[in-house]
């Protein structure tokens, strides 16, 4: 018997082996192509006076990105954040944003800039057509003004006008109950301070028409000494004081006004008080200052919000800021939109983002919405309460009513010629 086949490797098995070999060589490549990371660029302020806020934005983003990556990433692609300092300079913000997209290959942008920097990044987004979510700029005109609007930019931030409507109605109810007719204001002398104070008093008078503003003070931004402001207000003897000072300015103001026992002589409404950056820094936090919520883990009073605040504190050993929740929410929006679009493509995500409602620990009813017609965040928890000197600092917050906010916001937009 002659063997027709010699022992050894047959042609068939050779082919099979070659195929298997090719597969084993190619498999990681295929897998890698599928799991190709997606880079998200983020210019924010990591140096200078507001560096603390920029850092807290970065912390919140990283906290959420870890969760998204753990759950499989953005439509199957792991997120890699590229976060750079803009020093709070608009020309640097524009440069960094362009560099992130053009050189570093970022496909999406989170814009962690405040004020003028956000408008500079907005122009970059307009120019490059890349999907951009603003996460820190509270200037209402960024999304309310139709001239600013572009299909690829969204804003996931609270807004000055919303705060003023809620603040005005809350303060008016207190004013009526306590008979506070004579008011003074004390706010930083720049656009935010002037606009916010103007809008607050507008709504305050609307809800309580017999109120009178008897004194106005406009200290400079980052002023060190508030003695003249404090004495001016004390001499005017108002029954209530409104202030939109923030951060270090607010804490130095309170420390200096405490010397004159100002807080026992009038009701104080400081919209930016209820933020841990201010609450934990003031030496003797007076009891009973009325404040809007910036970020406070006790409002909304849900286990999800408390858990988020605790998780952040556990990881970074400090409490989150107002910028933190906004940045975290932006990542949540991206994750949900990518899931719905089944793609990490900026254009497809932008389509889905319009009008998208997601579950969110910072929502007034457990959800927040990216309003479709002006690409801005609504439905977030917003309210006012009074301080106590120790944790939880603002034990009870009275929630604002979004129905009223929507009505008055529409009126305001019309008065500005935006609609």
């Amino acid at each position: 018997m002659t063997k027709t086949r010699r022992p050894g490797i047959s042609r068939r098995s050779t082919l099979a082996l070659m195929g298997a070999g090719a597969m084993s060589v190619a498999a990681p490549w295929v897998a890698r192509a599928q799991a190709k990371t997606i880079k998200i660029g983020m210019p924010t302020i990591l140096s200078g006076r507001v560096a603390q806020l920029g850092t807290s934005s970065r912390n919140a983003v990283m906290l959420e990105v870890e969760k998204v990556n753990g759950a499989g990433g953005l439509a199957g692609r792991q997120i890699e954040m590229v976060i750079r300092d803009s020093k709070g300079q608009p020309q640097e913000a524009a440069r960094v944003a362009r560099e992130l997209v053009n050189t570093d290959g970022c496909e999406l942008l989170l814009d962690g800039e405040a004020s003028s920097g956000s408008f500079a990044v907005h122009e970059v987004a307009r120019d490059l057509g890349v999907l951009c979510i603003h996460t820190c700029s509270e200037a209402s005109s960024l999304t309310a003004d139709p001239k600013q609007r572009i299909p690829n930019a969204f804003r996931c931030v609270r807004q000055g006008i919303h705060d003023s409507i809620v603040g005005g109605s809350y303060a008016a109810s207190i004013a009526k109950a306590k008979g506070l007719k004579k008011w003074a204001t004390c706010s930083p002398d720049y656009a935010y301070g002037r606009d916010t104070t103007g809008e607050f008093t507008l709504y305050l008078k609307r809800f309580a028409p017999d109120i009178e503003i008897i004194s106005e003070s406009w200290p400079k931004l980052f002023q060190a000494d508030y003695t003249e402001v404090v004495t001016k207000i004390l001499q005017a003897k108002p029954q209530a004081l409104y202030s939109c000072l923030w951060g270090g300015d607010l804490t130095s103001y309170i420390d200096q006004a405490n010397i004159y026992a100002m807080f026992s002589q009038m009701e104080v409404f400081a919209v930016n008080m209820a933020d841990y950056t201010a609450l934990t820094v003031v030496k003797n936090l007076p009891k009973g200052i009325h404040s809007g919520n910036r970020y406070i883990k006790t409002f909304p009073t849900t286990p999800e919000n408390a858990a988020w605040g605790d998780a952040y504190k556990a990881k970074y050993n400090e409490y989150p800021t107002n910028w933190s929740w906004q940045n975290a929410t932006a990542v949540m929006f991206l994750a949900e939109a990518a899931k719905k679009a089944n793609s990490a493509d900026g254009k497809k995500i932008a389509e889905v983002l319009k009008g998208l409602t997601i579950k969110c620990p910072f929502g007034a009813d457990g959800t927040v919405t990216m309003r479709g017609d002006d690409h801005t965040l609504v439905g977030y928890a917003i309210g006012w309460g009074t301080t106590i000197p120790q944790e939880p600092y603002v034990p009870e917050v009275k929630a604002g009513d979004w129905k009223t906010i929507f009505e008055l916001e529409a009126e305001w937009k019309k008065s500005k010629g935006y609609t």
Binding site: Q91, R98, E99, A191
Partner: protein, 339 residues
């Protein structure tokens, strides 16, 4: 003609033809430099590199114009950034509100800058040293505060929003990245060429004399005030050009452009690059932007790094980089000649 006059005429003729030759050489170098820069997009697709050169144009024009004051005239202005901001804002506002063609807005901005600089200069250049520095700084803060407070016109601290419209002119579309790049390069080269001509002209030498000994210049019949005012206005015009390039780059104008930190950066650039050579500030610009861009990629503690670098230049080299190179070359040449 006396013998003396005849002798002087003979020496003047070659000097004049020498000046003409120098001018041709400058134009030739400028043309070559422009050709090299303008052909860059043919070799590289890197948008970041083009962005870098556009920013170099803006800051380079600004810093070199500051050197006309600091290096050539001895006027240390701490408020030169106001003209950078003024250029950006005037150009942006004219384009947004009037919708005129870009060259018209460009010329109008230069005219506005000239008027403002003449008024501010008339007050400032009478003063000396620290007083001049501080009054220019005061005017800068005045302009910065005006921009912040006049929110209905300038947009306040949020800047000029909504983008700067860029209608096409002469086939140039500045919303196209490459067109903007080539235009910025052209403005930079033209600006540098013009400033070099000013520096090398008899007027330029008058400025150096004023810097070295103003009393002597005055005794020689030079109207020192007028010469200082002229260079103040000229420097403002080039700073304003830099501001316009920056406004086009970011498609807006922001109060930070008129803030003292911009003036500070100008001084910083001059210290880095050196004030005794014409191209010192240009070298300083490239150095500063390179440092800034690379350091901010890796750390937010860029302030420390930049601080150490300036300390090295101030305490270590005791002059700018190009000053150091020029001195070193001169020493080598002297040594070579056996002196």
């Amino acid at each position: 003609m006396t013998e003396l006059e005849a002798g002087r005429a003979q020496t003047l003729v070659p000097a004049r033809s020498g000046a003409a030759l120098q001018r041709y050489r400058d134009v030739l170098i400028a043309l070559i430099a422009f050709a090299v820069l303008a052909s860059l997009p043919l070799f590289t697709g890197s948008k970041a590199l083009l962005d870098f050169v556009i920013r170099c144009s803006a800051y380079g024009l600004f810093a070199t114009s500051l050197n006309l004051l600091v290096g050539y005239t001895g006027l240390t202005s701490f408020g030169h950034g106001m003209f950078f901001g003024l250029g950006a804002y005037s150009f942006g506002l004219i384009m947004q509100k009037l919708g005129v063609p870009i060259p018209v807005a460009f010329v109008a901005t230069l005219a506005i800058t000239a008027v403002v600089a003449a008024i501010i200069g008339a007050i400032c250049v009478r003063l000396k040293e620290i007083y001049f520095a501080f009054v220019t700084l005061a005017f800068q803060m005045l302009i910065h505060s005006t921009i912040l407070s006049w929110a209905s016109f300038t947009g306040g601290d949020q800047g000029l929003r909504g983008g700067i419209p860029r209608p096409v002119f002469l086939g140039i579309d500045l919303s196209d990245h490459v067109h903007l790049y080539v235009t910025s390069c052209a403005l930079l080269i033209l600006g540098l060429l013009a400033m070099h001509q000013i520096a090398q002209s008899p007027f330029g030498y008058t400025l150096r004399m004023i810097r070295d000994n103003a009393a002597r210049a005055s005794f020689l019949g030079i109207d020192v005030w007028r010469a200082k005012l002229t260079v103040f206005v000229l420097a403002a015009l080039f700073a304003s050009m830099g501001g316009m390039v920056m406004a086009l780059f970011v498609s807006g104008a922001y109060p930070e452009f008129a803030y003292w930190t911009i003036s500070g950066e100008g001084i910083f650039i001059n210290m880095l690059g050196g004030v005794s050579t014409f191209l010192g500030p240009m070298v300083g610009t490239v150095l500063l932007l390179l440092l800034n861009d690379t350091v901010t990629r890796f750390t937010e503690y860029h302030g420390i790094v930049l601080g150490v670098v300036i300390l090295f230049f101030a305490l270590g080299l005791r002059k700018g980089l190009l000053d150091f190179v020029a001195d070193w070359l001169a020493q080598r040449r002297d040594a070579g000649e056996g002196r």
